[in-house]
Amino acid sequence: MYARLGEIIGLDASIAVTLAAHQAIGLKGIILAGNKEQKARYLPKLASGEHIAAFCLTEPSSGSDVASIKSRATLSEDKKHYILNGSKVWITNGGMANIFTVFAKTEVVDSDSSVKDKITAFIVERDFGGVTNGKPEDKLGIRGSNTCAVHFENTRVPIENVLGEVGGGFKVRVRAAPVRAARFMVSSLAPKMTAAYACMRKQFNKSLSEFGLIQEKFALMAQKAYVMESMAYLTAGMLDQPGFPDCSIEAAMVKVFSSEGAWQCVSEALQVLGGSGYMRDYPYERLLRDSRILLIFEGTNEILRMYIALTGLQHAGRILTARVNELKRGNVSTVVETIGQKLRDSLGRTVDLGLTGKLGVVHPSVEDSARKLEENAYYFGRTVETLLLRFGKTIVEEQMVLKRVANILINLYGMTAVLSRASRSIRMGIRNHDHEVLLANIFCAEAYYQNLFTLSQLDKYSPENLDEQIKKVSQQVLEKQAYICAHPLERTD
């Protein structure tokens, strides 16, 4: 549902962001963790739009590192208020909002009577006093939305306004739950806007649309839009199931793929227009600037990749614990079994996980792609086992390895979404389903080969694995904090 709404509003990024900041994160805290009085007091006005909400977590010295926030809330003498002090930076809707969900550190006495600082969430109204905001920030894109710093000076927050429980702030933090649908709107718009130009403009007596490279760009835009839509709606469908399914990994995957896909699509669209794409008169440069923020906010793509990989590995690690322990202890039968499996893998085995064939789930038109997906998934599973054996708990530090794992996962999810949508289209007879089949096959083939390359990079001694060299280069560059090569024209005599 939210995906549909987001689609309509996603036409303009600033509006979408303002809405999202108000509804998706600003209110969600109250909805998820608020008690009845808080909901009754705040939600009606927020839903009608009389009050606007904002979400205040980031501080100048802590973006991703939440435990280092410096805002403090101390209990006042009469134990009825908390005195909130601190400043938050880059708050969307900061200038217009009346209700803020603020995270601050409070002193909590543990069960063993040790005093610790824990994060607590508060609902702060502007009327409580002491809330000031700085001037609106001058941003690269989404300049329509209001982003500013918010300062709290001795703001008195009644203890009834504590969201959740004292010290339970992190549960309130809404993690990547809603599907960010604005992205694929941008990329599905892109072909429409540029196609007219491409067909009209003639160079060397041929219209642009007859040149191979331009055709490639359009195919890329169409393909990315298709995949993004498929992934977003698949995740939204999963979330709409009864109960509260935890689709946080899928949502994160959608976010990463969509933000990078949108950036690429808009960039290519601008490229098709050439010089005029660069001019302020056309909307492309605004779209480009607006879509750049997609890679940054709501969890930067790097952080989300870590999240995807680590959550998956945690899950896999638990299942594999027994096996790994046995292997480490040197249980002969397990070792022999593993070696046998590896030999059979290296000789090339056909993987059949039930997607294709007579009782298969996918339509025969996309059978090849389904087989590729199965093969990728199987080999990915084997590689994950090896990785866990190699690194165990310390895989958290190996970010380059985790990035590759996350990339494979995103590709796999994309392939799944695309295959299921294409099969549905054919079986239901939706118009232009053969186009969909084409797009699905192209994407699956590309993703398959990318996955194979990434899997080969995950081996320790493979020539594609350049981790050591990369780490060395970065260490030398960061030591001198500059580019250290001599100028090409330098001589020694």
Partner: protein, 433 residues
């Protein structure tokens, strides 16, 4: 034929019609003829083996006169003015004394020895001038046989000696040198070969030092100290602080011993580590350690602490909700396998943390106490931590006296030379006194 005096060595073949220069060889040098060309370099063990040591005074007026004359040229300068102009003048005077340049080989050897006194050993122009002393066009081989056998070996040795001294002082020869060498010795001679090699390898080895020290070191001790400290601590975020400048030099430029310079360096990481240091454990000021920068030796002291024994090392606690985005700690039972374990390195000895380094003009406790006081401004935690001074009794460097005879080394310092436990108050007292 061989008698007390050895015969003069004639050139291998007389060029037809050319006059044999009468002063080709100085009689002293044939003493070394037996060791001249055919023995290996290993036979000579002093440093500047190509430049023969000054000969002992001999009886007889003839030979010593020439040498004494050359010495005189160098002593003509007024006492104390040993600089380039006087050297150049002395070399040019040589040519004036006899047109035929008798004994030029000896003169050149002498001049090479004297270069260091005059401070011109790094000056290419002076070397070119010295090469200019050779008569031109005489020593070039004119036939195949001359070029097979080393033509005018003493002169070629002398030319090689000049280039050798250039090499050892890191002076790069230029086109003028090349032209001179061609004029003097010809293209196929050993000095020319050495020159070509120098040109190739010098340019290749110019940047071979991964930690280069600049060629011209600063004379000012404070600047030298800053250079040395930056050399030791290349971390760009480290800050160099001058805690005390030497008092104004009014007379001759020597720093006043009552107020030597104190320059220290500290990185923000070291500051943080010092702030977290347990006040129950002492920190030590150790030194002085020597650091050589080209030919200058500077001494530094460090402020360090011992490693915590493994029982007391605190395990870093990862706070629960440190990262809201991804789990910083996986809840798995097993750790890294041996295949990827890079932690053990047999060359790395874990030593205690070093908190700061300083270079000071004097190595006594009073100066270092001033350094600690200066450090306290940026590290207030230092006020609570006891500081133990572990200073070596001497710098440990052998000092050469001017006569060239080494003094017996000073007695080894007692293991913990001047160890004094100082409390906060005592240090303050001393600082004030």
């Amino acid at each position: 034929m061989p008698t007390g005096t050895l015969p003069r060595k004639e050139p291998a073949q007389q060029p037809p019609g050319a006059q044999i220069p009468a002063m080709v060889l100085c009689p002293q040098v044939p003493l070394r003829a037996a060791r001249g060309l055919h023995c290996s370099a290993a036979a000579r063990n002093s440093d500047s083996w190509l430049v023969p040591p000054p000969p002992e005074p001999r009886k007889g007026p003839g030979p010593t006169k020439a040498l004494a004359l050359h010495e005189e040229l160098f002593q003509q300068a007024p006492a104390g003015a040993r600089d380039k102009a006087n050297f150049v003048r002395a070399v040019q005077n040589f040519g004036q004394h006899n047109v035929h340049k008798r004994g030029h080989v000896d003169f050149i050897y002498l001049a090479l020895r004297k270069m260091r006194e005059y401070g011109v050993e790094r000056d290419l122009a002076v070397y070119n001038l010295l090469l200019d002393v050779f008569p031109k066009e005489v020593f070039r081989p004119r036939s195949i046989i001359q070029s097979i056998f080393i033509h005018y070996p003493r002169q070629q040795e002398c030319g090689i000696a000049v280039l050798e001294q250039m090499e050892s002082h890191g002076v790069m020869p230029n086109k003028e040198t090349e032209f001179l060498l061609i004029q003097i010795f010809g293209r196929k001679s050993y000095p020319m070969l050495k020159f070509v090699r120098m040109k190739l390898w010098f340019s290749r080895f110019k940047n071979i030092n991964p930690f280069p020290v600049p060629r011209d070191l600063p004379q000012d001790p404070v600047d030298l100290a800053k250079l040395g400290l930056r050399h030791m601590e290349p971390n760009l975020s480290a800050t160099v602080t001058i805690y005390q400048m030497p008092s104004s030099k009014d007379s001759t430029g020597a720093a006043d011993p009552a107020e030597p310079h104190i320059v220290g360096i500290q990185t923000p990481d070291q500051q943080a580590a010092l702030a977290n240091h347990n006040p129950a454990r002492p920190v030590f000021v150790e030194g002085p350690f020597s650091l050589w920068l080209r030919d200058k030796c500077v001494y530094y002291h460090i402020l360090r602490a011992d490693l915590l024994p493994p029982e007391e090392r605190e395990v870093e606690e990862i706070p629960e909700e440190w990262n809201l985005y991804y789990p910083m700690q996986l809840d798995l039972d097993y750790g890294r396998s041996g295949w990827d374990d890079y932690e053990f390195d047999i060359h790395k000895v874990e030593e205690g943390p070093v908190f700061a380094i300083c270079m000071a003009g004097a190595h006594d406790q009073a100066t270092l106490a001033k350094w600690i006081q200066g450090l306290q401004e940026t590290n207030p935690a230092l006020a609570q931590i006891p500081v133990v001074f572990r200073l070596a009794g001497s710098t440990g460097e052998l000092r050469e006296s001017s006569s060239g005879v080494k003094e017996p080394p000073p007695p080894p310092p007692p293991p913990e030379g001047q160890e004094e436990e100082e409390d906060n108050q005592q240090r303050q007292q001393q600082g004030q006194s």
